[in-house]
Amino acid sequence: MANKIYIKNISRSQIKWRSALVAGLFIICLFIVVPAYANQGLDWLNAKANLGLPRLPDNGFSLGLDLQGGAHLIYQAKTDNIPDKDRADAVEGVRDVIERRVRGGLGVAEPLVQTTRVGNDYRIIVELPGVTDVNQAIKMIGETPVLEFKEENNVPERDLTVAETKQMNDFNLAAEKKAKEALRAVVTGQLDFASAALQYSDDIQSKNNSGDLGFISADVFPELYTWAKTRKDGETGDFLIKSAGGYNIVKRISQREGEKTVSSTNLSNLEYNVARILVATKQKTDIVPPKESWKTTGLSGKQLKRAEVTENTQTGQIQVALNFDDEGTKLFSEITTRNVNKPVAIFLDGQPISIPKVNEPILNGSAVISGGFTLLEAKQLSQRLNSGALPVPVEMLSQEKVDATLGADSLARSFKAGIAGLILVMVFMALYYRLPGLLSVFSLAMYAVLTLSIFKIIGVTLTLAGIAGFILTIGMAVDANVLVFERLKEELRWGKTLRNASEESFPRAWSSIWDSHMTSLISCFILIWFGSGFIQGFATVLAIGTLVNLFTAYTVTRTIMRLVFPLFKEEGNYLFLGYRRSSAAPVNQSK
């Protein structure tokens, strides 16, 4: 392997080019790691030269639950009562239900819900970043999905009873009186607008902001807008304006040019900042609840035997077939009979998942939903239907949650430890190996920013274990440099010139560097392939670090050495470990 070593002659200009490339890469990586500074620079350039350069995305690193806080839940799906071949689909349906619940019901922005198979067990892993009050989440996840068939609600709204009408009128009369009183107070100057708003306004926003409502458009506040259009800034209306919500006393504060939207109703797009005092009145809808657009039919997931994706034998169209049990067949035939040419909605957990139209009465309890599905859509719909028809109970196997403050504390501490470790290693290298050690500081800095930018680019999720792994690789990263510098020391001791010694030390140290990195990588890949979450996070970081290290140790250190070493005498000096004063006569050899 290391039998013959030839020194390649590399011209000075080539070395300068390579150094420039390394420096450029360093700056790019630095900007990827801390884009805020780069963006400031880009903004400045854009402002000066109007180049229209895009800003770098300013995303942070993606942090694991142990660092940003959050919950990690593992559920077992109990699939005993489901035939073998349908289990995977059934579990996928549960996964979908859980994801919809945590997204919709809890508003978790980026939940991760995935299924995994361990032996014959199906498990569902739920990750809820940022959520630490998981009690609610756990309750929602454990609930059995509710599948309901609903039909259009045609029952007209009921009218107000006599008593209710009287009650409403009384309330509104009182409101009018109160509004007139407020108007009098404002017009006579008895109260200024702000304190009148505080005392009289039923609109919380204006009440707490001296009446200020912000800029309004014609769409949201048509009555106030119409009034404001004809007034001047600072003018207060001396009469009550009736709007849908009640009586308004309005003051125009200022106007501005609004967003340019083309609208037929409103050609001028001026917006007015107004203040108002609202005295609320009651309408019919405040007393009678608004009409629901769908009503329950009594048909639910319990009466649905199963749903499956089928193909129409004539058209080849993909469709979802439903099969009801006896009770379901009866209910469904009634529903379809009275809803021909009308839609019937299927709700899962209160959300409509499909609203097919009934073409004809279906009396035999087997129906198909068709309508230009892709295979994927059809599969999803049938999974959702089945999750209501054949609910798969889930049982929690494990729960892990970390409070956000604890996570932030861990992050801050490990960050501090990382910086301290980096500095200690740099100081050690510079003190022991002198000038070459100092040069390795650059290559270590390069290693740090390059690794971190790779984490960012490929989106490695950093966990506490991962950061520990990164800190560990800092120490390992200099190993390659140590191997080279030890060689350099030996070669200098043998009396070689600085140039020959440095050129030879790299290829001679290479086989050790390669072998040791390969064994690390083998371990890492076994762990990534076989390990569980914690181990994987650590091994991924270690693997990336090892690969980057192969590059920086060899390329970066070597380039910097080639750039800097010719500035010194041929035999070197005390800045180099291994320098011997007596060996003034250089030995010329290239082997």
Binding site: M396, G418, G421, F428, G475, E486, E490, D515
Partner: protein, 302 residues
């Protein structure tokens, strides 16, 4: 300067055997204290805004609830960590409610920092995976070494390099296990998944360290330096000595930073790595290389 490492090989064997015996004794006598990752169970970390209640008072409340194998550990003035059997979410909420009722005051409020509960199915899986990953990593390393050293099959067969590297690494692993068995017995340190990760890293590092030494021996063998195998090995050791020391230093420095600054969550992880890495550097010089000479001697006799 040429240190005659191999000449004193017997001394190193004695030291190594003592270390191995002591570690094994500690490991078999006390055993490791497994964390909930491997045994299943729950861990609840709570903090109080002013002062935490006394540990035995909390213990009394939890015993009343019928929790089993409960261990409560105070941590600083504000926090304590409760370890107990597997809790369902309802039981978890009940425990929190009880502690709140008994100890929370308007000034001294309770905050739940961390909660983990691991069922037996998961812990069994984690145990199984930990064992398999250790076996697979070792097999992978032996296979790679046999391949990398395939051109130096004389005087010692290439796979034996791999095997000796693994023996040296077992020494390091045993030492870490022994120390943690002691720590488990006397300061309640538990081992979980992170400990397995530390062990695997130690294995990787120890083998890497041995490889560098062997690599140099391989190079010396190919160049026929040294009169006999023992001398060749000794030369290799001397040539790589400073590298071994310095690499170990550069790995230990960040680990020391992690140990002292990294916070309590990462404490034992960093400690396991510190012990293992230091031992890894020792074993590549004082275990792996003398063993190689021993193997060659046996071969000649046999």
């Amino acid at each position: 300067m040429n240190i005659p490492f191999i000449k004193y090989a017997k001394l190193w064997y004695v030291i190594t055997i003592i270390v191995v015996l002591l570690s094994s004794a500690s490991l078999f006598k006390y055993g490791l204290k497994y964390g909930i990752d491997f045994t299943g169970g729950s861990l609840l970390e709570v903090s109080f805004s002013q002062t935490r209640p006394a540990v035995d008072k909390v213990k009394a409340v939890l015993d009343e609830l019928g929790l089993k194998e409960t261990v409560i550990q105070g941590s600083g003035d504000y926090k304590f960590i409760i370890r107990t059997n597997f809790l369902t979410e309802d039981q978890h909420q009940l425990v929190l409610r009880q502690i709140r009722e008994k100890f929370q005051t308007p000034e001294n409020t309770l905050h739940e920092e961390r909660f983990e509960t691991i069922g037996s199915a998961i812990s069994a899986q984690l145990r199984q995976r930990a064992v398999w990953s250790i076996i697979l990593v070792n097999l992978g390393i032996i296979a790679y070494m046999a391949y990398a050293f395939r051109r130096v099959s004389r005087p010692v067969a290439s796979w034996k390099y791999g095997a000796m590297a693994v023996v040296a690494q077992l020494h390091d692993v045993l030492l870490v296990l022994g120390v943690f068995a002691l720590l488990g017995k006397f300061s309640g340190v538990e081992v979980g998944i992170d400990f397995v990760v530390a062990l695997l890293t130690v294995i990787g590092f120890s083998v890497t360290d041995t490889i560098v030494v062997y690599d140099r021996i391989r190079e010396n063998l190919l160049h026929h330096t040294g009169d006999n195998f023992a001398e060749t090995v000794n030369n290799g050791l001397n040539q790589t000595l400073m590298r071994s020391i310095n690499t170990t230093m550069t790995v230990l420095l960040p680990l020391l930073a992690l140990y002292f600054l990294g916070g309590s969550t990462i404490h034992s992880f960093a400690l396991a790595l510190l012990i293992g890495m230091a031992s890894g550097a020792y074993s590549s010089i004082f275990v792996a290389s003398p063993l190689l000479v021993l193997v060659e001697k046996w071969q000649r006799r046999g």
